[in-house]
Structures are given as structure tokens and as C-alpha cells.
């Protein structure tokens, strides 16, 4: 580790000390965790502003790559992306610090709120508000479902998989985990093994 001049972190992140980097990670990801409403994608918009434009830790393309990775690895997208950014900036310690900073405010707020929830939910007015919130939450889930559906490519494979997953979990009540495992396997067979090993290669067909 080279000796460091007292310079702002934003411009010389490579030279700044690990400790300062970690502190900045805590501040930045703590902010993401405490101030963003509405889950993963809202956090990502804020990340671009802070990480690319203000702190210049990486280029917009690099961040987009990390987000794409965060989307296709299991787990909450914001947590995945935070882990990766923390790792890129300050190694394994950096990734742990970034995730902890992101998660802590969200955890704390719920711990505080749940106390009120548990003691007040039997109050007639609170219960009335909660029953309205329940309906709103259903609308939210339905919308998320529609949004995911419109983003899906129209193909008969996707239609069959969607309908199959729906049928299997709704009627024979097969556990969602097995459905996901099965879907991963079918994807591997149909989109991976089949075009590679089972279909005739383009050059070999007459």
C-alpha cells in the first residue's frame, strides 16, 4: 500500500487508504439503504448518480455490467450489486461493508416499525387502514407480475413455461422451489443441450 497524500477520495480512489474507502462505502451504501423507496431499481438509479457521476468510481458502462450481473445472480438485485461494487473497490472487506451498510438501515426501520405494528394491529382503526393496505399490496404484486410478463419475450417456450409453472404451483400445489429447479433444468436442456448436441449443426445439414 503506497503512502497517501491527503486528497479527496472521489478523484483518487486507487490511492486512498483502505479505511477511508471503507468509510465512504458505508456512507454511500448507508444512504442507498436509508433513502431509497421502492426496492432494487430505485436504488440502481441512485447508484448511477452517486457512483458514476459524483464519485467517479467507475464508468456508466462498468456499472451497467455490474447491475446486469446483479440481475442474473440469485438474490435481491440491490444486494448483489452492492456486493460487487464493494468488492471492486475494496476487496472482500469492501463487499461485506457495502452490504452491511445497505442492509442495516432497512433492517433497523422494520425492527422499529414492527414494534408499533405488533402492538397496534388489533386497534380497530389501525386494522381498517391495514386492510386497505392489503388491497393496495395486492395491486402492487399484480402490477409487478404484469410488468415482468410484458418484459418477457413472446415465444411458445416462454408461454408453456409460464403456464406450466402457474398450473403446477396452483393446482397440485408443488413447492415453488421445485418448480424453479425444474425450470432451470428444462432451460438448460432446451436452450443449452438441445441446440448444441441434439440438433444437426448448420454446416452439416445438406
Amino acid at each position: 500500500m503506497p503512502q497517501l497524500p491527503e486528497t479527496p477520495i472521489a478523484s483518487t480512489s486507487e490511492e486512498s487508504s483502505l479505511l477511508r474507502k471503507l468509510l465512504t462505502l458505508i456512507l454511500v451504501f448507508g444512504k442507498f439503504g436509508a433513502l431509497t423507496f421502492g426496492g432494487g431499481y430505485a436504488i440502481i438509479a441512485l447508484m448511477e448518480d452517486e457512483i458514476v457521476h459524483r464519485r467517479k468510481w467507475m464508468s456508466a458502462e462498468d456499472l451497467m455490467d455490474l447491475i446486469a450481473i446483479g440481475e442474473s445472480t440469485p438474490g435481491p438485485i440491490a444486494v448483489n450489486t452492492a456486493t460487487f461494487i464493494g468488492y471492486k473497490l475494496a476487496g472482500i472487506t469492501g463487499s461485506l461493508v457495502a452490504v452491511l451498510a445497505l442492509v442495516f438501515p432497512a433492517w433497523l426501520i422494520i425492527v422499529l416499525i414492527s414494534g408499533c405494528y405488533l402492538s397496534l394491529r388489533d386497534n380497530i382503526w389501525v386494522a381498517a387502514a391495514l386492510s386497505g393496505i392489503r388491497i393496495a399490496a395486492i395491486v402492487l404484486i399484480l402490477q409487478a407480475c404484469l410488468r415482468m410478463w410484458t418484459k418477457l419475450k413472446r415465444s411458445w417456450f416462454n408461454s408453456i413455461m409460464l403456464a406450466g409453472a402457474f398450473y403446477l404451483t396452483a393446482f397440485p400445489s408443488i413447492n415453488a422451489f421445485y418448480v424453479i429447479l425444474g425450470a432451470l433444468l428444462i432451460g438448460l436442456l432446451w436452450h443449452g443441450i438441445r441446440p448444441r448436441y441434439l440438433l444437426p449443426k448448420q454446416g452439416e445439414t445438406p
Partner: protein
């Protein structure tokens, strides 16, 4: 031991969440509601509403909520650490070669299969939440709930309401109905 069970359950949920927070809903339903019976589906819908209107990743909010109502403070720690840990482990494992691992045909093709299935699973979750809210215990239709959800759905479509505004509208509607002596 409840803490270990909570941790393992949410670890499994985090591991199988493909495509962000909402993809977690059917998994929570399968494990937390159907399998362990830690909460009712009505409570879960309330949690979703509260989690959406509090800051931070939705997945963390909802796991903390499930943990704390099931087993108190320590329970919230176990659930939250559990749900986050698979992400951290997987990212750190592949960090050096992420583009190679995710660009590999096996990963890509498997995910292509999971994507539509996740939408189907979320559809079932929405469907079962709807059927629980739209029908009273005796099997008769809850017309007020149906009307309110259609109204809220139309509102969000027309005015592009954000999640928090929508939750607030729901709460206000619930209170207003109570004032008129109608329970949802």
C-alpha cells in the same frame, strides 16, 4: 431451534430468488406461510404493503418483518442475514470471472428456463392473495374489496401512482370505509 430454521429458510429463499425482490414473494409464501405456518396470508399482504413504503431493498424489509414477528429481535437478524448471505457468497465466488460464468451457455440457458417460470409463480401468488381477499370465510364475495382493488388498479394505471402513494390511498380507503361502518 427457531433461529436456525429461520436462517436456513431465508437462506434458501435468497438462493432461489431469480430476478429481484418480487420474485421472492412466491418463495416466502411457500415456505413461511404454507410450510411453516409462521404467518397468515393476510398478514403477509400487510407486510408487503409496509415493506414497499419503507426505505431499503424490499427483500431485506420483508425478511426482517417475517423474522421479527416470528421470533423477535434475534429472529429478524437470522432472517435478514440468511436472505442476504447467498448473494454475498455467490458474487464473491464468481467475482473474478463473473462475465465468463454468466456468459457461459449453461448458465444462460438455465436462466432462460427460469425466467418465464418466475412470472408464473408470481402470478399464482397474486392469484391466491386475490382469492383470499375477495372471498369471505363463508365463500361469499367481498364486493367492497373487489371494488376497491379495481379502483386502486385503475388509479395506478391512469395516474401512474408510485408504490407509496398507492399504499397511502389503500390505508385512507380502509379508514374511510371504517368510518362508514363497512369493514373490508
Amino acid at each position: 431451534m427457531i433461529y436456525l430454521t429461520l436462517f436456513l429458510t431465508f437462506f434458501k429463499i435468497g438462493l432461489f430468488t431469480l430476478g429481484g425482490g418480487y420474485a421472492m414473494i412466491p418463495l416466502i409464501q411457500a415456505e413461511v406461510i404454507d410450510h411453516h405456518g409462521w404467518m397468515t396470508i393476510e398478514q403477509f399482504a400487510e407486510f408487503v404493503g409496509i415493506a414497499e413504503s419503507t426505505p431499503g431493498p424490499f427483500a431485506v424489509n420483508i425478511s426482517t418483518f417475517c423474522g421479527i414477528t416470528t421470533a423477535g429481535f434475534l429472529g429478524s437478524l437470522c432472517a435478514t442475514v440468511g436472505v442476504v448471505l447467498p448473494s454475498v457468497i455467490i458474487i464473491l465466488l464468481i467475482a473474478g470471472a463473473a462475465t465468463r460464468v454468466l456468459g457461459h451457455w449453461t448458465t444462460k440457458s438455465a436462466l432462460q428456463g427460469a425466467k418465464p417460470a418466475v412470472v408464473g409463480l408470481l402470478g399464482v401468488a397474486a392469484f391466491s392473495l386475490i382469492s383470499h381477499s375477495f372471498f369471505k370465510d363463508a365463500g361469499e364475495m367481498n364486493l367492497v374489496a373487489i371494488a376497491l382493488s379495481i379502483a386502486l388498479f385503475t388509479l395506478t394505471r391512469v395516474f401512474k401512482l408510485g408504490a407509496i402513494t398507492l399504499i397511502l390511498c389503500g390505508a385512507v380507503a380502509g379508514l374511510a370505509l371504517q368510518l362508514c361502518g363497512i369493514s373490508l
